[in-house]
Symmetry: C2
Subunit: 197 residues, 2 copies
DNA sequence: GTCTATATTGCGATAGAC
DNA sequence: GTCTATCGCAATATAGAC
């Protein structure tokens, strides 16, 4: 196994194990054994367990960099909101471990939170607020809408849908084949509210 | 210190420490030292660290038992939704550690998840769905509303508001004096949607 | 019921061979 | 660059004194 292969394999294994049991729940012995390399490789390549965790975190949140494209697209403002919802669903579908790092760092922050996690989440939130502000300026959205609280609503529905999966999956399917229905339903609530007219 | 005082003190200290650093992030040495008792008391009274964690979890989720009162009240269905939002805000305001156990158990479940946490969350979700179904039957809510997805929306906004606090508090205040505005805004989105008419 | 002292295990890190 | 072997420390649990 060459240098890059070894590093990638360690990050891959560490992503799963750290996600499943947290930074303190996994030992470097277990990590190195699962990756099929020597225990000393973690200190050598990453400077220790925390360094490896930092690398995992950086890779996990790198996808947040592409969120700006949604706001820069030349489309109607409601389409941007739907694009955000689709983006976040794809994000969680492609990476089943992301939500664990997301919530773990938000509620039990490590030393890497402020450098890696907080800026990533704040950026997404800012862009959601900008989209809402654009809708208000264009006279598309209600003028008394609070951009921040509206951003909480948009982000909250989808994030909570995935967050609550293990407690609600026996009540309603969380499989990808229902994603389109979920998206339509989110958009319906935002556009129509829940009341019968 | 007598028996009950000692047990209560250990649970109190453990609640804060487990919330801040997770089950694996705290040692029984540190717990017993912070509580001012001997390390052996944890094994003696709780059967070990996991037993103490289980007691903490049970106390944290005991408040979920009162949710049924919201649905049994003889009030209008929109008022029930607002009552749920108020209930969940009060819950988090009264106990700043609850959300950490909530998200930690959802994304990194311990052996106690299925016995303590999952039933509590599922029950709340069921009641939210019942409220939505009642609204549909009463012709108050849209007939094409999916109760489950609507429940995700209602629970998602408020839970995400608290979940994201440490990443968004520099953008918008999360202090209790803005709670009423948040509640009004949630209700406005559900009743009016976000569009300008 | 509570303590101190200790047994035992597993941890992260690293020295040194190759 | 990767390994094996080991050091020093901290973990949980418990035996036994009081």
């Amino acid at each position: 196994m060459d240098k890059n292969e070894l590093r990638n394999k360690l990050v891959l294994i560490a992503t799963r194990l750290f996600a499943e049991r947290g930074l303190n729940g996994v030992s470097i012995r277990e990590l190195s054994k699962a990756a099929g390399v020597s225990i000393s490789m973690i200190s050598y390549h990453f400077g220790g367990k925390e360094g490896l965790y930092s690398s995992v975190l950086q890779e996990q949140f790198s996808c947040f960099g592409h969120i700006e494209e949604i706001n820069n697209a030349d489309v109607e403002v409601l389409t941007k909101i739907e694009a955000y919802i689709r983006w976040i669903i794809v994000r969680y579908r492609n990476n089943p471990y992301l939500l664990r790092f997301y919530t773990s760092e938000l509620t039990n922050p490590t030393q890497f939170f402020s450098l890696i996690v907080q800026p990533a989440i704040e950026k997404v939130f800012q862009i959601l607020m900008q989209i809402v502000e654009e809708g208000i300026l264009n006279n598309k959205f209600r003028r008394d809408l609070n951009p921040a609280d509206t951003a909480f609503a948009i982000a909250g529905i989808v994030n909570y849908y995935f967050l609550s999966t293990s407690a609600t999956q026996e009540i309603i399917s969380h499989l990808p084949d229902r994603d389109e229905e979920l998206i339509r339903h989110c958009m319906d609530i935002f556009t129509k509210g829940i009341l019968h007219n």
